[in-house]
Amino acid sequence: MPSKPIQDEKRVFMTGNEVVAWAALAARADIMYGYPITPQNEIMHYWTRLAPKHDKKFLQTEDELSAGFTTIGGVLAGFKAFTATAGPGNTLMQEPMSMAEMMRLPTVVVVQQRGGPSTATVIYSQQEVMLTTFGGNGEGLRIVYSTANHQELFDYTIKAFNSAWKYRFPTFVLGDGYQAKMREPLTIYDPLDKNIELVKPEPYVGKPGTPAIDRPPTQLRNTFSMEEELFEALQEIIGDYEKVAPEIAEYQSFGTEDADLVIIAHGVVSRAARLAVKEMQENGLKVGYFRPITLRPMPVKEIQEIASRVKRFLVVESAYGQLARLLKEAAYRSTAEMVPLYKPGVGVTAEEVVKKAKEILS
């Protein structure tokens, strides 16, 4: 029995990458496969320091294709396997994750977004939203948690392993360079001490017994010779996804009931949005706040509900309308106006949000 990863609940002051390594340990992840890319490198650095002490494994691969496909191998063998990437690495990661999507493999990928397109900056952005939610030649059948602070990075990394193994869809924790590199206080804990159940992994291949004698062989494929065959397989996967989507979807909101304007943001930008909304509310403005925590699946019901009574949204993001695209789809049929505050590749401050909101309201 490997030692308990975190003895007692404790307050710590850590970078987000360190937080992810601790969270993976707390979630009882077994193995990480990874390839260096900024700004996620320190996840590997911390994991490789922690892993041997806790009987965990690590493999540095030749690229992100390999990191993704070896993660798939680890999952097939029945282990909680994960990887971490960013930017161009996330682009390559989409190939293995499309396989995971088709085969319902519970891979976990932590993405620390950097500037794009291409290699751009290693610093920060929210430009990997489309890639992480709908990347690959697939249908976006995955779970994507967009975290806003270090406590969430810890909580949702643990949750990502649980959701992946419970629902059997590839699961992503979508962070960014600011979250990766900043230090913040948070509480780390052993989820078992808080009665958080940890979903147990199980092998897809190599189960006990001889195939065809003691059990049927596991034969997984993602190639179909007939259109109808593929259609049927997809109907089932899509059906499963639709069924569990409402229970997976998460969001935060306040003050939307009688709002003239609702500000929507995700991830670290939602912190600026939240501050801005609080400040404006204190000044008597009727402004509300909404933040999808899951970007796949989106909290569609809640977005539609708000969109049915609010006339205007202000969509704030460090990308050129990637969140807005998801919102527009979720709010389909609503006539609510979506005013953009897009700052691709750069951070957004509460002051900027307040200024923009006041312009709209005046």
Binding site: D30, I31, Y33, K57, L59, T61, E62, D63, L65, S66, F69, T70, T71, I72, G73, G74, L76, A77, G78, F79, A81, E95, P96, M99, M103, P203, Y204, V205, G206, K207, G209, T210, P211, A212, I213, P217, T218, Q219, L220, R221, N222, T223
Partner: protein
Amino acid sequence: MTIQPAMPKSWRADTKPHKFCPGCGHGLVLKALGQAIDELGIQDRAVFGCDIGCSLLSWDFFNVDTVQTHHGRTNPVITGLKRANPDLIGIAYMGDGGGYAIGAQHLVSAATRNERITAILVNNTQYGMTGGQMAPTTLPGQKTETTPYGRDIEQTGHPTQGPEMVAAITKEGAYVARGTVANLRQLKNFIKKALQNQIEGNGFSFVEVLSTCPTNWRTNAKETWHFVENEMTQYFKIGEIKAPDSKGPEEGQTNG
């Protein structure tokens, strides 16, 4: 091809006759592999990974746990599996395009890291499933769909010497051989040794197999065998290139 008279025990009978074209070498390679699995008694812990290309047609070929991966990505999938659970016997099955072109970085890296997996690569000098384009293994002057006037080595390079490359970059413990469907007994022995090498945890094991593709070669039976036995062997030497008990490539036995 009709049902083999002596079907290996590890074959899945209800998926036979198999899906390869008549005269295709894949069925023979998989027969040798099936026999090796039987003789080693590893049907319960072998995991077979097949690549994209005609090799994918083997996804339900064995009564062995199987996963069909992407083009060139079988080595990493099997590597990941083996790293997570070293008790499994990981077999990565791919074509020449998968191993030497799109997945070359994975083959090189698995070999360099001496991954305890067994890779079997079918060399039939072109891309079968996509309709016969030039592969890294296409012979000089050979006509394919993308070299309609014959492969020009000035423009497109020489046939990849895969096992020789793998032998050069692996350290002690690796097993590297090149077999042929024209000598099934020898091929089975190579594959068996390659698997045994993994079972013993010595290192990476790699077997390239010279194989046939009459469909894209557009050859009759006689021409097919002539090509694999006489023309391919001018560029690709049959034999063991590296074995854990040998010192280096020069000591490997060749009997092509």
